[in-house]
């Protein structure tokens, strides 16, 4: 058993506004130190494109990765609200989080919920140390929003499964240690049945990871092809055939977090700093403030509802994601307008403006396209 880890003070463990304020201040101090040391430059969409394993390790050493994991697995044993405080500060600062993001946000919680004891013992301490990178293998060439249409197959064999198929849009799979794959293990019943989640360790000679360049030429998306890949039975995540239910639960974790309205915050902060004193721009800034403050409270309320370990409400999570990502997209235009109004942008501001522009089309697609989210919300309303 690991000793209580990280630097979460006893005071911070309590769920009071003062405790969260302490944690927030400690997170800000860490960020300030990292910035002062030149360890990172604020980036838009830093949870997806800011990949820095060393930063992840240093953050983990502060007890700020895998915060909700139990102490016996090296986590901090804190609540979703504690994590919320830390994550939003890191996102607002544009810190590089991609190297541990998927492991920390969804793989760890999924393993806690569905994984075997052996799987938990193997992976969770590594996740909490910020030293393991997971990719996610959900989408396929013919299965995007219609996720249950996955064709990747896992055939049962002695000791496990053999995997065949193709996954796409797997962020950072080319530099990850493992990928969680949703595969069909049975054709019986409805198409939502017969799906299973499998952990595939990388690199593997039977797994080909090919880059999919983004529109700005960057490489973080990948196509991942599995050709007769052997997956041991110990690497089955959860129950065979229960993959759909498990993934839907994970998607709710994915949808309600602060990354759904803070992807452009480093840019907005940089631009608004330049509008100081320009009262002709006050209205735009107040409008921004009102929207962000509201979304932040909504996201926090979902996190609060998860503080006793419950899964997030899927509809509330969908509402946060749809409103949040639409705001992110709208703020890119706003940021460009404000930037033009105040000054010739500095090289740093120009970089942020461009980053936000090219990342923005993905905001309302990844993690559930807006149209799908709205269908989920509407169906629940008339149920």
């Amino acid at each position: 058993m690991s000793p209580p880890r990280g630097n979460a003070t006893e005071h911070e463990r309590v769920i009071t506004p003062e405790a969260f304020e302490q944690l927030r201040l400690r997170t800000r101090r860490f960020i300030d130190e990292e910035l002062a040391a030149g360890h990172f430059e604020p980036q838009c969409d830093s949870w997806l494109i800011g990949f820095d394993r060393e930063f992840s390790r240093r953050l983990a050493a502060q007890g700020m990765v895998g915060m909700t994991l139990p102490e016996r697995f090296g986590g901090a044993g804190l609540t979703a609200l504690h994590r919320f405080v830390v994550i939003e500060e890191l996102l607002a600062a544009g810190a590089p989080l991609a190297a541990h993001w998927f492991a920390e946000r969804q793989v760890g919680p999924a393993m806690m919920r569905y994984g075997s004891e052996d799987m938990q013992k193997e992976w969770l301490p590594r996740i909490a140390r910020g030293e393991v990178c997971f990719a996610i293998g959900l989408s396929e060439p013919d299965a995007g929003s219609d996720l249950a249409a996955v064709r990747t197959r896992a055939e049962p064999v002695e000791g496990g499964f053999r995997l065949h198929g193709t996954k796409i849009w797997s962020s950072n799979a080319h530099r990850c240690d493992a990928i969680v794959v949703l595969a069909r293990t049975s054709d019986e019943g409805r198409k939502h049945a017969g799906l299973t989640q499998l952990v595939v360790r990388l690199p593997d000679p039977t797994v080909t990871v090919s880059p999919i360049q983004s529109i700005d030429g960057q490489h973080h998306f990948n196509e991942v092809v599995f050709e007769d890949t052997l997956v041991g039975k110990n690497d089955v995540l959860g129950t065979v055939g229960a993959g759909w239910r498990q993934v839907v639960g994970e998607l709710a974790f994915e949808r309600s977090g602060p990354e759904r309205y803070l992807s452009t915050m480093p840019l907005l902060r940089a631009v608004v700093a330049k509008t100081n004193g320009r009262h002709d721009l006050d209205r735009a800034v107040a409008d921004l403030l009102s929207h962000i403050s509201t979304l932040r409270h909504m996201s926090e309320q979902v996190a609060r509802s998860m503080s006793d370990g419950s899964a997030p409400d899927p509809v509330a999570a969908s509402v946060v994601k749809d409103l949040g990502t639409r705001l992110e997209v709208e703020t890119v235009d706003l940021a460009h307008r404000l930037a033009r109004a105040v000054d010739t942008p500095s090289p740093r501001l120009t970089r942020l403006l461009r980053e936000a522009r090219v990342q923005a089309p993905g905001f309302t697609i990844r993690g559930g396209a807006s149209e799908i989210l709205r269908a989920i919300i509407a169906k629940e309303l008339v149920r």
Binding site: R269, I377, K379, L381
Partner: protein
């Protein structure tokens, strides 16, 4: 959603309060504007619903900001009109700690700028004043001197009603509103120690109460729309099954959720800036939801007989008569600009709306 209102506290006490308020006006005729001599209003007074939130030391039953907001929200979603709580709450806010009775019959006036006080007399024209009757005296913020400079001394004045100063009309929602034309009216000065910051707090409460009423009407409009699209069939299917209808329905639900959340945060924190954000968010939602709900309920929604129009007229009236989008944003930005520690720092300003901030 855990109920349609995930972003509002799931508090049994608030539910009981809302049910009691709803029940208290259930006998009223649809569309009625209740006057003080009405039995229902009298029952309201007997149950002290019109004084919720007023501390016991001032003769009220006490209560939280969430209680106050709940009463306003509930009344906005029933088909009768009465001045609810706002009169009491704003009277109390204007009086502050002043040892002055919070008597019924006092009407608080909140002009955008305080009226100038010269030789103990006030001249002012104020539009959109709630006018349900039963008013005996007015409370009015005033400033000493006409220069408009920073050295103004703020006061609170009380004056008796003179019917010839009042022109009564009604707003788009059929609610009584008055224009007051005060010409060199002699006033009694109640408090000589006032400041702009305190007036901002009163304005914040006024905006919060308007936001609460809007959210109450927004929820009613959402629920009417949900019922309609679930029951109405077109092309052999319920409207709610058509994807394009689902998109509109979800947008309505999202806007209502956001307005509720902003209101909840404002009620939790009591922060003036967040009250203005709640006003802005509710007003913005009102525009979107009124448009989409009419679109989804088709021609039926435009008839007087059908209930939708009563609530959409409230949404339009309450946002238009106070120019709520623009006014909320202007007040929010003034609030931020006055806090030097967050000026120009968007993230610190967001944090400050929760009533906390990064220490200097």
């Amino acid at each position: 959603m855990s109920g349609r209102d995930f972003f509002w506290p799931d508090d049994p006490d608030l539910r009981v309060l809302a049910d009691s308020v709803r029940e208290s006006v259930s006998a009223a005729e649809r569309g009625a504007v209740l006057a003080p001599d009405n039995d229902i209003w009298q029952r309201w007074i007997a149950m002290e619903f019109d004084r919720v939130g007023l501390p016991e030391r001032f003769g009220g039953p006490g209560g939280t900001l969430h209680d106050v907001v709940t009463v306003e929200m509930t009344l906005a979603a029933v088909p009768v009109s009465l001045p609810a709580l706002a009169t009491t709450v704003l009277t109390h806010e204007l009086l502050g700690d002043l040892d002055h009775p919070r008597e019924r019959g006092l009407l608080p006036l909140l002009p955008q700028r305080p009226a100038p006080l010269v030789d103990g007399r006030v001249t002012a024209r104020i539009d959109g004043v709630w006018w349900y009757g039963g008013t005996s005296s007015l409370l009015l913020p005033v400033v000493l001197g006409l220069d408009g400079g920073s050295a103004q001394a703020w006061s609170l004045a009380r004056l008796d009603i003179d019917e010839k100063d009042v022109v009564v009309s009604e707003n788009l929602a059929g609610e009584p509103r008055a224009r007051l034309d005060l010409r060199e009216r002699r006033v009694t000065v109640l408090d000589a120690h006032w400041a702009l910051s305190r007036y901002r707090k009163v304005q914040a409460t006024a905006v919060l109460l308007t936001a609460a009423r809007l959210v109450g009407a927004l929820r009613e409009v959402r629920d009417l729309t949900v019922t309609y699209v679930a029951e109405r069939r077109q092309f052999d299917r319920p409207l709610a099954v058509h994807p394009v209808v689902q998109q509109g329905l979800a947008e309505i639900a999202e806007q209502v959720s956001a307005a509720l959340a902003a209101l909840d945060l404002a009620a939790r924190t009591g922060h003036a800036g967040q009250a203005f954000a709640a006003g802005h968010r509710a007003a913005e939602a009102a525009g979107v939801v009124a448009r989409l709900s009419h679109q989804l309920q088709g021609a039926m929604g435009t008839s007087r007989e059908y209930p939708l129009g009563l609530y959409t007229r409230r949404l339009w009236a309450w946002t238009d008569e106070t120019d709520l989008v623009e006014r909320s944003l202007a007040l929010l930005q003034q609030e931020v600009n006055e806090r030097t520690e967050v000026r120009g720092d968007l993230w610190a300003a967001v944090e400050a709306l929760r009533g906390s901030g990064r220490p200097a």
